[in-house]
């Protein structure tokens, strides 16, 4: 029983991490059809912001939940104004430019901070289930993922801002004719997505080492999750995160973490063959 409880917790944890990582991309890609290749580096910046702030004596929760999203959100604002703004509607060019941006960020961080893996200690201590030890922090990740997803869903579903954003996403020209400025909505959405990346970076900082190249591995997972999810951003991303997280953790449990990743990717490729529009291209079409 203790073992199955632990495995369940690990599966939930894997799903929650994947969901946290993917939401930022889901928001930016789903709303704006912009694929931000530097998203992993945004996440890395969030993790660095957390580590640096925490080591400078700031309370870890403030560093993680406030400083990381704020600083990366601000960075996202600068990137949107200077770079992304010029490339709307040119999806491949956006991918290339943000890929360049990602290389630039990695290069800069390597030059200024160095490649040494840094970290902060995991807060909240341990928890024992039967004979097994696990960390309370894992529970915190699950709760955070659920909270952020719910908050985002409620914002999009019920608030005025959410309605305007969904309208802009459906028909920018019409929204513009009705007095909404699509360029400002895009800007806001990009900043929101960046802040979510920063938050995810802050939350994973204590459990994974913080290094300049950490972003890419997280990002590819998040990308295939969003691609597997399809058009309804939040529902789709949650469902895909559930499926991929389960496959990943189950295979990891049976073999090694590397084969967990391979199995997850294989699932994603096969699923794209069966459901090219993602899960929500076929099911749950009317959700957000």
């Amino acid at each position: 029983l203790a073992l199955s409880a632990l495995v369940t917790l690990n599966v939930l944890n894997s799903i929650a991490t994947l969901l946290l990582l993917s939401l930022g991309i889901g928001v930016i890609y789903g709303m704006m059809k912009v694929i931000n290749f530097a998203h992993g580096e945004f996440l890395m910046l969030g993790a660095y912001a957390t580590v640096i702030a925490a080591n400078a004596g700031v309370n870890i929760w403030i560093a993680m939940l406030i400083i990381a999203p704020l600083s990366v959100g601000l960075f996202g604002f600068v990137v949107e104004r200077c770079l992304i703004r010029h490339l709307y509607g040119r999806i491949i060019d956006t991918m290339l430019a943000t890929w360049g941006l990602s290389l630039i960020i990695v290069g800069l961080v390597t030059s200024f901070i160095g490649t040494t893996i840094q970290g902060v200690s995991t807060p909240l201590g341990g928890l024992s289930i039967g004979f097994y030890q696990t960390s309370v922090y894992n529970l915190f990740i699950i709760v955070m993922a659920a909270l952020v997803t719910l908050a985002l869903w409620a914002t999009l579903r019920f608030t005025r801002y959410g309605m305007i954003v969904r309208a802009t996403m459906q028909n920018p020209a019409m929204a513009s004719a009705l007095g909404v400025s699509p360029s400002r909505i895009y800007m806001g959405t990009f900043v929101l997505g960046s802040a979510l990346a920063g938050l995810a970076g802050g939350i994973v900082a204590p459990i994974s080492g913080v290094a300049p190249t950490m972003g890419m591995a997280f990002m590819v997972k998040a990308f295939i999750t969003v691609a597997g999810g399809g058009a309804a951003i939040i529902t789709g991303t949650s469902l895909a995160a559930g499926l991929f997280g389960l496959v990943n953790e189950a295979t990891t449990f049976l073999t090694t973490p590397v084969f967990g990743q391979v199995a997850m990717l294989a699932t994603a490729v096969v699923m794209i063959r069966i459901l090219p529009q993602g899960i929500t291209g076929r099911f749950f079409r009317r959700n957000v």
């Binding site: 430019a97 360049g100 890419m216 591995a217 590819v220 691609a227 590397v258 994603a268 794209i272 090219p276």
Partner: protein, 344 residues
């Protein structure tokens, strides 16, 4: 054929032969070695240039095929001893892998952006897998994969007849020879009926489908071809360096192939070659100093070209040369300038 074309062709052949035969005679071994790697990277650039510029398929993970070729060569050359079959395997395995992947992507009709994401993911996963293969459990045909450290002591290319290892000069001739053969082969493909259909699909997929061509099959074949060329480049790379490690799957490797095409010129075959030589030269220069990080430099080049020179250097140069030519000839003849502008 006019006198001018004859002259141009003769000129091209003479310059080509000079570029082929002179370097081993005038350069030091080190210089020749550097030049060989430029040519090998040019071959890699060509694989992306063909795929992206003519097939209209953007692979963000071209390093996956390059790396597969590199590893296939290393393992086969050690296990089998001969380099001819090793190179053949290094072409076949990535091509088959690309065909398999292409089946899922093109028959699933995923969008261009998703093709980019999936290829990128494949490269990252392969890199992770290869990094985790340390230990004796992981070996193929008796060759340990070595994880992060890679496979050292890979034999260089050998003469198929005598089994004698090639020296620097020999490697140079093989590299340039492969590049020329692939270039001419691709030119031939593009001139054929098949190539015309491929370009037609790039231009308008729906229209090509309505004419009765199956874009999925054509894309699949182009993808597999490009994978094979990248694999050939990978095998030559391993033979050149005598060593292979998971860095061949790196995203900076994949990024380089895209940058070669982007700065050289999308939709040309010569552009990626020139781009590769230029970037490889730049990398060698950057490697000798500490101020500027290589990844930073690649990133800056990528962003600047996407924003300012999206068509690449070669088409841009042609455009400006054309304009300059017209301005000059107009000045000479005093003819009124045409109002027709080249569409950009």
């Amino acid at each position: 054929m006019t006198a001018r074309t004859v002259l141009a062709c003769t000129g091209a052949v003479v310059v080509g032969l000079a570029l082929f035969l002179l370097p081993p005679r005038i350069l030091s071994s080190f210089g020749l070695n550097q030049l060989s790697i430029m040519i090998i990277m040019a071959l890699f650039g060509l694989s992306q240039g063909f795929l992206w510029g003519f097939g209209g398929i953007m692979s963000f993970g071209q390093s996956a095929f390059f790396g597969l070729g590199a590893y296939a060569y290393a393992i086969a050359a050690i296990a089998l001893g001969g380099s001819g079959s090793a190179v053949a395997l290094a072409i076949a395995i990535p091509a088959i892998f690309a065909a398999l992947l292409g089946y899922f992507m093109f028959y699933g009709r995923v969008s261009d952006a998703y093709v980019g994401i999936i290829t990128l993911t494949i490269a990252v996963i392969l890199s992770n897998v290869m990094n985790s293969t340390a230990g004796d459990v992981y070996q193929i045909a008796g060759v340990p994969l070595g994880g992060f450290n890679g496979i050292p002591g890979v034999p260089p290319l050998a003469m198929p007849t005598t089994g004698e290892y090639l020296d620097y000069d020999g490697t140079w001739y093989v590299a340039v020879g492969s590049l020329v053969v692939v270039y001419i082969g691709l030119r031939g493909i593009l001139a054929s009926r098949f190539g015309r259909v491929v370009v037609a699909i790039r231009e308008n997929e729906t229209r090509a489908t309505l004419f009765g061509y199956d874009p999925r099959l054509y894309k699949l074949i182009v993808f597999a071809l490009s994978g094979g060329i990248a694999g050939l480049a990978g095998s030559l790379y391993t033979a050149w360096s005598g060593f292979v490690s998971p860095t061949v799957f790196d995203l900076s490797m994949a990024a380089q192939s895209v940058i070669f095409v982007l700065i050289g010129g999308l939709g040309t075959l010569l552009g990626p070659i020139l781009g590769a030589v230029f970037i490889q030269y730049l990398m060698t220069v950057v490697g000798t100093q500490q101020v500027l990080n290589a990844s930073l430099l690649l990133g800056i080049i990528l962003v600047v070209f996407v924003l300012l020179v999206p068509k690449g250097a070669l088409p841009m140069a042609r455009l400006y040369a054309g304009r300059a030519w017209r301005v000059l000839s107009a000045a000479k003849t005093r003819a009124p300038r045409s109002r027709l502008e080249v569409p950009s």
